[in-house]
């Protein structure tokens, strides 16, 4: 039976029967898309629709949300105004052979309540780097082995920030090793003078509500979508 089962799972595009260890809550975006697809499709539906993710307007029939497996970085030298430094790592090796990545979107979530903030309009600077060299065990070295991908300001009012990482993720799955990302959040330049009087730790208090990061990835399974093209 197990051989029969594994052959059936293979037909469904799975190399083995999954056995989740610590199941996480279903991300709301996936639940929304799933609920929307439960409504019966129109009879004149184009068979190619199944190979397209309408919500993101990209080709694909598989959407995954990867949890971040990176760790916080505790720098030996204190860096003024730097509130948070973290490695981000998403294990894309679970993509099956024959899957083509068509979209990757990073989400950084906060759980803060802006109405109870001591610094309601306070701004932050976010920088996202691509890691280009493997860090040595036990060293927080962030030397030249990183490339700046994103630099932007944001206010505490944002509950979540989204970044398009499609090019980087495509590169990870085709050309180069996935060495992860480095996220830095610092008090913005405007807050620097306030930091002098209030102290940087106090201004960073607003970023304590940093919740988590995840990577939404859309892929197209050539095996599953080739069949519907042939029929058409």
């Amino acid at each position: 039976l197990s051989l029969q089962e594994s052959l059936l799972l293979k037909s469904l595009g799975l190399s083995a029967k999954p056995s989740p260890k610590i199941p996480v809550p279903v991300p709301s975006v996936l639940w929304r898309i799933f609920q929307k697809r439960k409504t019966p499709p129109a009879t004149n539906r184009d068979p190619a629709d199944g190979c397209r993710v309408e919500e993101f307007n990209v080709p694909g029939n598989i959407i995954r949300v990867f949890a971040d497996q990176g760790h916080f970085i505790h720098s030996a030298q204190p860096q003024p105004l730097l509130c948070l430094q973290k490695r981000l790592y998403f294990n894309l090796s679970v993509l099956e052979e024959g899957e083509r990545l068509t979209m990757a979107q990073l989400e950084i979530k906060f759980s803060h309540n802006s109405y109870h903030s001591p610094w309601p309009g306070q701004g932050f600077e976010l920088r996202l780097y691509r890691s280009c060299q493997v860090p040595l065990r036990g060293t927080p070295s962030l030397g030249p082995g990183r490339k700046l991908l994103v630099e932007q300001s944001f206010a505490r009012l944002h509950k979540s920030l989204l970044f398009n990482l499609s090019d980087v993720a495509k590169d990870w799955t085709t050309n180069s090793r996935n060495l992860g990302l480095i996220l830095e959040i610092a008090v913005s330049g405007d807050g620097a003078s306030a930091a002098v009087s209030a102290g940087p730790r106090s201004l960073c208090a607003g970023i304590d509500s940093f919740l988590d990061t995840s990577l939404l990835v859309v892929t197209l399974s050539q095996q599953q979508c080739r069949a519907s093209r042939r029929r058409r």
């Binding site: 989740p20 996480v24 996936l30 799933f34 499709p41 995954r64 679970v94």
Partner: protein, 113 residues
């Protein structure tokens, strides 16, 4: 004489109800939703004459003709799915990521000969 065997409408080729429960096949610990779905299946005969309701292919018409000449050597056409629809499945993979995957051809909507 084969033509005289009465075929009641309930024996004709058509979709029959089949609910697939993922817990029945032991997949409930990794499939999040749906817990099961109405997949249906095709069953029934494709007798002479093949009416329009039986969604017969031209091949089925000719196979019926040959079957009437040689019932032992050539079987009647089969009752098979002719229109299927997709479903999406939410599941956990081996790394505890949540995956939403679209699968074509999962629900039998119409059968034919």
């Amino acid at each position: 004489s084969a033509y005289n065997v009465p075929i009641t409408p309930s024996n004709l080729c058509k979709p029959r109800r089949l609910y697939i429960s993922f817990s029945d096949v032991g997949w409930e610990n990794w499939i999040i939703a749906p817990q099961g779905y109405m997949a249906n299946y095709c069953l029934g005969e494709c007798p002479f004459p093949l009416t329009a309701e039986l969604n017969s292919t031209n091949h089925a018409i000719l196979q019926t003709m040959v079957h009437s000449l040689d019932p032992e050597g050539t079987p009647q056409p089969c009752c098979v799915p002719v229109r299927l629809s997709p479903i999406s499945i939410l599941y956990y993979d081996n790394s505890d990521n949540v995956v939403l995957r679209h699968y074509e051809d999962m629900v039998v909507d119409e059968c034919g000969c």
